[in-house]
């Protein structure tokens, strides 16, 4: 319960004590040294325009509030500018920690629809942004090959990419999001 006068009480059931360990294991190894100074929030371009507070996300992660962090859109407001990582006085890889939490969120079925679409394009074409008719035309007009010499023009290369996306589990991961 929250209002202006009472403290927010964290329920024991909401705490997952393994959450921080998972983040540490995935590479944000200094996250436990956070002193909540707020430098990350102060330098954040998204934070200056919205209620997104990097410091708060890190605090919640340290408290083990896994579900709350992963289900929130907050972690998707980061533009990965890396300023917080550069400025953190504890040298915590803040941006990396957010990327790690995003990976976890997707595994738990939290993915924005636009991001699912981008992923589907990658699976189908090898490009998150495939060529379209307008740019085909523009390429010709500019004297470039109409289709660039990428997976767009090379069936074997595209098949390799598709195979990789199957082996890493990406295809399955994205397909599993469809019903979410």
């Amino acid at each position: 319960m929250t209002d202006d006068t009472s403290f927010e009480i964290i329920d024991n059931d909401d705490i997952d004590s393994d959450f921080v360990d998972e983040i540490v294991k995935a590479g944000a190894d200094r996250i436990r040294t956070c002193i909540q100074c707020g430098t990350c929030s102060a330098v954040c371009p998204s934070g200056r325009l919205t209620a997104f507070r990097t410091r708060e996300v890190i605090r919640k992660a340290l408290l083990g509030l896994k579900e709350e962090v992963l289900a929130s859109e907050d972690i998707w407001m980061c533009s990965t500018c890396y300023t917080c990582l550069e400025r953190c006085p504890r040298q915590i890889k803040v941006t990396d920690a957010i990327l790690i939490m995003r990976n976890m969120a997707v595994k738990h079925g939290f993915m924005l629809p636009e991001h699912r679409k981008t992923s589907q394009k990658l699976i189908q074409t090898g490009h998150a942004v495939p060529i379209d008719d307008k740019n085909r035309g523009l390429r010709k007009e500019l004297g470039l090959d109409e289709v660039p010499p990428t997976t767009h023009a090379d069936e074997k290369a595209l098949n390799d990419v598709k195979e990789i996306l199957k082996k890493t589990g990406f295809q399955e991961l994205i397909e599993s999001q469809e019903g979410q």
């Binding site: 998204s46 300023t83 990658l122 660039p148």
Partner: protein
């Protein structure tokens, strides 16, 4: 870049050989893949596709070069991850099993502007035939070109000047503006997933650039470029007036103009924001 900004690609392909930098196509390349989106969804997938692209370059015997800060970030970070954690390469070899992808991790990833910066402003001045005098430029470096600074080749970790110097070598003036080092707002999947926030961040920068009275923005990233090109139109539509009209140029387009190349050869007649006011000022 080839799928979204053929105009920038054309400018890179025409300008670089004139500086003595010759390009080979990375045949069969895929999306880098994008560090903001794909890396946010599944790190192993991001690393595997990045490594495949790096391996294609390594097998061809050349370093990899890209004109996009996002791709640059992906390749620099992937190389760092593999070099700092040798176990990752073994993990990837399982993914690449039965494919003819060999990778030792010896290849380097470079940015077009890094190669140009290595030549230095003096070299640029030596190829300039049409000095862009009186042109006020708002320089935008972009986050992933510079950060994380420990994995980047620049001499300084902040307050960079190399791009400003390269811009000024064309005869143009790099004009200071508020919050010059602020993010464009496109990265991290924000442009796709949180459009309003993304445009709000761009708006802040564009307002500052308007206040500084620049004739154009110069950037070195296809995603920053997209952001400035498209955000202005979107903001004008919302406002119902044409307030935001700052032409957005990639560095090799600006340099191409200073080398006396035809604007159409540099794709400058195919921009979202009309480049004509800038061209009129140059040729006026």
């Amino acid at each position: 870049m080839p799928n979204r900004f053929p105009n920038i690609e054309a400018s890179i392909r025409v300008v670089l050989p004139k500086l003595g930098i010759f390009l080979d196509d990375l045949e069969g390349a895929s999306c880098c893949p994008a560090p903001g989106v794909i890396r946010s969804f599944d790190e192993l997938t991001w690393l595997a596709l990045a490594t495949r692209n790096l391996a294609l370059a390594e097998m061809s015997g050349h370093d990899l070069i890209t004109g996009c800060n996002g791709c640059y970030s992906t390749f620099k970070e992937a190389l760092t991850e593999i070099r700092e954690h040798p176990g990752r390469l073994r993990e990837l070899q399982k993914v690449f099993k039965d494919m003819d992808i060999k990778f030792k991790g010896k290849v380097e990833a470079r940015h077009v502007i890094e190669a140009i910066a290595d030549l230095g402003p003096d070299k640029i001045r030596s190829v300039v035939t049409k000095k862009l005098e009186g042109i006020k430029v708002g320089v935008h470096y972009g986050c992933h070109l510079l950060k994380p600074s420990k994995n980047r080749p620049w001499k300084k970790t902040q307050n960079h000047t190399f791009l400003d110097e390269l811009v000024e070598a064309t005869g143009a003036l790099s004009t200071p503006y508020k919050d010059k080092n602020l993010c464009c707002g496109a990265g991290g999947g924000v442009r796709a997933g949180q459009v309003e926030l993304s445009i709000d961040i761009a708006k802040e920068k564009l307002n500052n650039l308007l206040d500084a009275g620049v004739d154009c923005i110069v950037n070195v990233c296809s995603f920053c470029h997209l952001q400035y090109e498209t955000a202005q139109d979107m903001m004008n539509e919302e406002l119902g007036e044409k307030k935001y009209n700052i032409p957005v140029l990639y560095y090799t387009q600006l340099l191409g103009l200073a080398m006396g190349l035809d604007p159409s050869e540099l794709g400058l007649d195919t921009h979202v924001v009309d480049t004509k006011p800038l061209l009129d000022k140059i040729y006026g």
